[in-house]
């Protein structure tokens, strides 16, 4: 008996050591700096932790106790959430500001929707439903990042699987994976979100390029946002990528109107030491074409259009346009947009209960372009698809829109989901117009600042590659968010309304029943006397004779 036990233990120990798929962890950090056309500078911090040869938790095993997880670099708090709800892929972004595609081009991180955006691919087959786990995930992340993600309830959750494809791979557990996606346009990112972000990094903000994450500078930027991406790649493992993106304006902060920058001037910090656990740590600076410039120090190498600096021997990076006396913003004049796609979206209100949604999509390229078009609107903005008008170059072109799928909203619960594929002819603009009506909410559904209006989530366009490379899905164009004002009831007098309406109904009800149930009699009117000696006649309920009593 004892012998078999010992044998079992030995076998188990041996099997662990013999397993070729040993788990190991990797950490890499990367900072990309791109000088933009309007003199601003975009900076994207990226911190990637890889848990090699590990796969997400199988939702079928959610009922059982989880295997114990030991991480050295992988953020434990995030790992626990992912295991608890068996999340396969997760993307969270919290941004402030409007990404200006026309002058800034496509962002390094595609998720630049204003406010919060959370989407996750969740495997089915668990004892608890996907929606329940999505709810748990929202609440857990809300606690982790100090953001109000908990309000991304079923009133905001959609499943736009045509627009948000998984970026990694989905394990085949014999059950389907479902997408849950929610926008929270009114959410703002601030320091309280950055602090938990530091805590997920192995070196916190003490060393490596994370030193540069100076909240005073980052939240002073023209655009800033942070995001968390968790995905599983079959041949790599689970990857957590934490990113911070900001568009800083060196021209605004310079005394002589120059766009020269250094890490010190941008972030008011320098890298004192590199992060010891990082296996790769580099700063990449995009090299502007046809503009004389100088780097100090010299880049360690040049990789394509990027100058690469190794953090281990670089404290500061400086870039100067030495031949430029002062920066002239070319974007102030008429200027070709940098991005292939320009989108404008407005909601024109005729009055407080109806309006029209207008979307103008411009293809700046010389070839026809196909994009998916995603519109998610809260239930209180109702789209009327039969009123959709598509115009291009002054003619009606209904044929440009294909493959529309529509999930109608459910009042007080589900949002509208509209997805379609739009073809935009070369160098032209497609105008779409849709009638909308705005619903009337219960007085308890209005926020405390009801007159401010409601933020509507952005529309999303995903260009489809037609050059045979198939789905890309990484380039997404978010429109700016909209503000819609809804008719408000009076908030001060619910009691009065209840009392007055009830009184009127009772008055009608009472009077009619009074008439129906009481006997009609004829009385003699003699001055003020109402004596019984008068002539009385009665019309009874069922055939009063009308005779004299």
């Amino acid at each position: 008996m004892i012998l078999t036990r010992v044998l079992c233990v030995l076998l188990a120990v041996w099997s662990v050591y013999a397993d070729p798929r040993i788990e190991s962890e990797h950490f890499e950090e990367d900072l990309v700096i791109r000088p933009l056309k309007d003199g601003r500078t975009s900076a994207r911090f990226s911190f990637t932790t890889t848990l090699e040869n590990k796969s997400p938790r199988n939702p079928e095993l959610l009922g059982e106790d989880d295997d114990s997880q030991h991480y050295t670099l992988f953020p434990l708090t995030l790992g626990q959430i992912l295991r608890e709800y068996a999340i396969t892929e997760l993307h969270l972004s919290l941004n402030a500001g409007k990404w200006n595609y026309d002058t800034w081009g496509m962002p390094d991180e595609p998720g630049v929707a204003t406010g919060g955006e959370l989407w996750a691919w969740i495997g089915d087959g668990a004892p608890t439903s996907v929606d329940r786990r999505w709810q748990g995930l929202r609440n857990a992340l809300a606690g982790l990042f100090c953001a109000s993600l908990g309000v991304m309830d079923e009133q905001r959750t959609t499943s736009p699987s045509r627009t948000f494809r998984p970026e990694g791979s989905l394990p085949d557990w014999g059950h389907a994976h479902h997408l849950r996606h929610a926008f929270l346009p009114s959410e703002h990112v601030c320091t309280e979100n950055l602090t938990p972000f530091y805590k997920l990094l192995p070196c916190k903000s003490f060393s490596g390029i994370a030193t540069l994450l100076n909240p005073h500078k980052l939240f002073d930027a023209d655009w800033h946002g942070m995001s968390v991406h968790v995905l599983w790649k079959e041949d790599v493992g689970i990857q957590v990528r934490l990113t911070f993106q900001a568009v800083l304006d060196p021209v605004r902060n310079s005394w002589n109107n120059k766009r020269d920058w250094s890490l010190k001037s941008l972030f008011d910090r320098q890298i004192a030491q590199s992060c010891p656990v990082s296996s790769a740590s580099q700063i990449r600076v995009s090299i502007p074409k046809d503009q004389p410039h100088l780097f100090t120090p010299q880049p360690s190498r040049v990789d394509g259009s990027y100058a690469v600096f190794d953090v281990s021997n670089t404290a500061d990076v400086e870039m100067r346009w030495h031949e430029e006396a002062s920066f002239e913003n070319p974007a102030t004049g008429k200027q070709e947009p940098v991005s292939a796609l320009s989108v404008r979206r407005t909601l024109e209100s005729v009055n407080k209960y109806r309006g029209s949604l207008k979307v103008a999509v411009t293809n700046n390229g010389g070839d026809d372009m196909q994009t998916t078009y995603l519109e998610t609107l809260p239930w209180f903005v109702q789209l009327y698809l039969h009123t959709l008008r598509i115009e291009c170059n002054g003619t009606r072109r209904g044929d440009l829109l294909r493959g529309a799928t529509f999930t109608p909203p459910i009042p007080h619960s589900r949002p509208t989901l509209y997805q379609s594929t739009l073809t935009i002819p070369a160098r032209s603009t497609v105008y779409m117009t849709l009638d909308v009506t705005k619903a009337f909410l219960r007085y308890t559904e209005h926020p405390p600042d009801a007159q401010r209006g409601w933020d509507l989530p952005p529309a999303v366009f995903v260009p489809i590659r037609t050059d045979g490379e198939g789905w890309d899905g990484v380039e997404r164009v978010y429109t700016p968010i909209l503000l819609v004002d809804l008719a408000t009831p009076d908030f001060s007098m619910p009691y009065n309304v209840i009392i007055m309406s009830s009184t009127l109904i009772t008055f009608i009800f009472g009077s009619i029943f009074n008439l129906l149930t009481r006997k009609f009699i004829v009385v003699k009117m003699e001055g003020d006397e109402k004596s019984g000696d008068g002539e009385e006649r009665e019309a009874g309920r069922t055939g009063g004779k009308g005779g004299e009593l």
Binding site: K352, M493, F520
Partner: protein
Amino acid sequence: MDVDLAFGGLVAARLLLAFAPLPEQFKFDHLLSSPLTSNLRLHEGVYLFKNGVDPYSGGIFYQSPLYLSVFSTLLPLNRVSSPVIWTLVDAVSAYALVQTWRARSGVGKSKRDALLAAFYLFNPYLFLPSLAFSTSSISNMLHLLSIMFAARGETSPALFCLAALVHVSLSSILLVLPVIMLILGQPKSGLADPKPISINFKKGRAIGLEFLGHFSVLTLTSTLVSGGFQWMRQTWFVELSLLDLTPNPGLWWYFFTEMFDHFRPFFLMAFSVHLLIYIAPVCIKFQYDPLYAAFILTGVLGTVKAYPTLSDPGLFLTMTSLFPEILPYLRYPVVTSLIHLHASLLLPLFNHLWLSQGTGNANFFYASTLVFGIGNGVALMDCVWAGLRIALGETKEGYDVIQQ
């Protein structure tokens, strides 16, 4: 068809009016169409239905699948067909009103016919919703047709129209009993000479069963058309649960906008059941004149139903023309007309001030719906009074009629 030139002329005038260029705003007006009768939503429902999206899977379309099947196949809705369809619907309603009058008064063709038709076709409460192509015109047509067939003793058509009416507008269930009584009884005026009646319960049961038969066939057809039972939730249940709080000239919407969430189910139940309470007393009291009972219950619907538009009280007001004998006994017709005049000016004005101009708030419009509710309630009470008072005939000098 025994209609005269005057009737044709009236319909032609209405047709011209229907083709007149009307502001776009008409289709969105809260007084003319509710979410349950809106033409915009009907278009959207038909569009979704044709494009393979279940219109009942969300909160866009709250109308019967029968409308979907009719308007997506037989009668396509467009710029030309809609005015024609809605004018014809109103013409049929006016014709039904005239025929009901003939059955009630026992006279054939008379000069009063044109007057009755004009009363229907040119009642602003009725023709404005019709110009907005609200489906309340269609339910009004079914309403009047079922009464007409019942008055003429044509049992099956009456029951079919009644079943269709209840199917498209659930609260019209109030009319089932009086219409069955009308089929069993006679349409002649019995108000001045109330007599207890004997009801042939055996026949009544057969009629009731036939009604249920028609109703189940319509329900089954709707289920087949829409491919599921979801439509019941999106049509009947919406009327009971008031999911859509779009303003209307009725009394429910603001009450439930301002209602505390934990009392909502209770008051929804109270408001719905409250409507049903009217059936029995009205039908018992006016058993000798079931047409009058149907008329009073129409008034109840126009005053306190869930999603009324102007066309519901409008139908009640127009139906008063069927009962000229009560007119001398109305207690305060002038007051009622003035309240109606007042309310019909206030309603659009305050709706505009609140929702378009932004200079008034919701209470303005709520106040005008209360005034309108008082106007309808007073008209209803007056009609009940007059219908009972007429039995006592003229009083001598120095005598008065009171209630004990």
